[in-house]
Amino acid sequence: MSLLTVKDLQVYFPVRGGFFNRKLDEIQAVRDVSFSINQGETFGLVGESGSGKSTTGRAILGLEPQTGGTISYQGHDVTKVAKRQHQDFRRDVQMIFQDSFSSLNPQKRIASIISEPLRNFENLSKNDLKLRVLQLLDIVGLSPDALYKYPHQFSGGQQQRIGIARAVATHPKLIIADEPVSALDLSVQAQVLNFMKKIQAEFGISYLFISHDLGVIRHMCDRIAIMTRGEIVEIGTRSDIYQHPIHIYTKQLLEAIPQTDVDHREQHREARLAMNQKYHQDKHQYYDQQGRAFPLVQVSETHWVSLPPNEALRHKILQREEH
């Protein structure tokens, strides 16, 4: 059974204007997004700015109003915010933000920042609380004297680790990480990513890892969904996506990643330009008349792609032949 299942999630933002400030239109930030995250896995959500990936993450936590769809956690429907208390959803699902500094109260010491979720969800004595906070600091590799410091006294990487310590304080089962390393330097990024992997191995945490960085996603994620214009166009395992991409959007996105292979950079550039041209020629085939992606079609056991009807049929036949 999957840990979290999101089905047909919609988040629409009204566009107001005109004479009486009526709702004229809506921005469909997230349109019918469905996916599920299994226990202990890292599920990546990739897309460019405006693709709706962050909105999806925030909507799951109830930080954005949900227009439609269902969210279920451990088989229980938690779409209605009122039902979440019951399922320990608030304790079990935590978030790590891109900019930790602004998510840490600048007037509070680290001890009180990290212990806050513990005080909210667990009834611990003062001593036990302090012990837990010290444990958490140890897990994220900060020394005990961090307890009485303020957020601004730490570097960006350390702040991000404090954010992680706060997120794992309640032993969550799922952490939604929204661009957790985008603001960090390469060497610090490596540190934070390693930590995230370490605590995952230790506590069996699942991640919803939201990022625009395809290199980081490849390093971190077991399964990946590619999002564009509010819709998922391809879902698959790491090798499905990186070795056998099918949707044209995925393909051109992958081609755009800068490579450190200096010997083949001309070839890479040509391949990218060719891909780009193909993308502009063919992309309309991958969307219907309203500009929406076609429904996802299963092309292998783990791989789902949004394909036009004729292509979809072809893949179905191919699959049947394989079996």
Partner: protein, 335 residues
């Protein structure tokens, strides 16, 4: 690239210090760099390494009240460190121009795109107003804007991030400068847009025979675009060479460590390499000794120079300090 041509920009022992609470701190130390005509040079390093300070020093954009520059930077025979503000105004925009990281804040929100591009030509050319407008349209078309007339009339907030950066590039190349400094020009952009902007920069460089100094933290971007690379750490250049030398035979421990910490296909499941410790802050920069030494404590102190200098490895490949000769990764040793 003709080797015989005189270099465009030569810096020698360039130093920049900032005043914080009546005390000067060195943000840039002993930078020796040569930029040749028609060359694409990348300066790469992490935040706080001094790469942006270098750009601002060359462009003369530092606040003279709280900064101090010493050493020399000669651009087309002119000593930049001794240039007056008026002297700078004559070459900035005309021979030397700059592209910034965030094109939204770098463009005046209250002026139309056409005016902002026109401005640079109004100060540096004798073109009439209509000629300049024609050139604005031509420039916009050259940087890949489909409807130049429409964009020319628009305000910055009406454009997408990629479009804005194209406008910035059009502005930078308007007077066909000899050197363009691009400070993290693609950091705020999506990966597909980034690729387009880098292609555009490369094209502009080749078509106009301009030199470009690309300042970035992204090694992938460097590998895709640069001819030559300078790696900076804690205010100093620690290694410089051709893009092949830097990526295929990196020598300095910092360069090697950085390259190792990039998430790659072949290290997908392993832990990423982490450089111990932190970058020293401006106030705590050691006065002597190798600045990278505290981050590779397993290398004996005797391997480092007291006052590290650049060593020539041939073919234009240079590396700071002698520690590279004895450097190894601790993890490799254990295995």
């Amino acid at each position: 690239m003709k080797k015989t041509q005189a270099p465009l920009l030569v810096t020698k022992h360039l130093k920049t210090s900032f005043k914080i609470n009546d005390h000067y701190y060195q943000a840039l130390d002993d930078v020796n760099l040569t930029v040749n005509p028609d060359e694409f040079l990348a300066i790469v390093g992490e935040s706080g390494c001094g790469k942006s300070t270098f750009a601002n020093t060359i462009m003369g954009l530092l606040d003279e009240h709280d900064s101090k520059v010493s050493g020399s930077a000669v651009f087309e025979g002119q000593e930049l460190t001794k240039l007056t503000e008026t002297g700078y105004d004559e070459i900035r925009g005309l021979k030397l121009s700059m592209i910034f990281q965030d094109p939204l804040s770098a463009l005046n929100p209250l002026k139309r795109i056409a005016n902002q591009i026109d401005e640079v030509m109004a100060y540096h050319t004798d073109l009439s107003k209509t000629e300049r407008y024609q050139r604005v349209l031509k420039l916009l078309a050259e940087v890949g804007i489909h409807d130049p007339k429409r964009t020319a009339r628009q305000f910055p907030h009406q454009l997408s991030g990629g479009m804005r950066q194209r406008v910035m590039i059009a502005m930078a190349v308007a007077c066909k400068p000899d050197l363009i400094i691009a400070d993290e020009p693609t950091t705020a952009l999506d990966v597909t847009i980034q690729a387009q902007i880098l292609d555009l920069l490369r094209r502009v460089q080749q078509e106009n025979h301009t030199s470009i100094i690309l300042i970035t933290h992204d090694l992938g971007v460097v590998a895709e675009t640069a001819d030559r690379v300078a790696v900076m750490y804690a205010g100093q250049i620690v290694e410089s060479g051709s893009v092949q030398q830097i990526f295929k035979e990196p020598q300095h421990p910092y360069t090697r460590s950085l390259l190792r910490s990039i998430p790659q296909i072949d290290n997908a499941t392993d832990d990423l390499y982490v450089i111990q410790g932190n970058v020293p802050s401006l106030q705590k920069m050691p006065a002597a000794g190798d600045r990278f030494a505290p981050r590779i404590p397993w290398i004996p102190a005797s391997a480092h120079e007291d006052l590290p200098v650049m060593h020539d490895l041939g073919d234009g490949h240079q590396v700071r300090c002698t520690c590279y000769r004895q450097f190894y990764f601790k993890e490799d040793q254990r295995a």
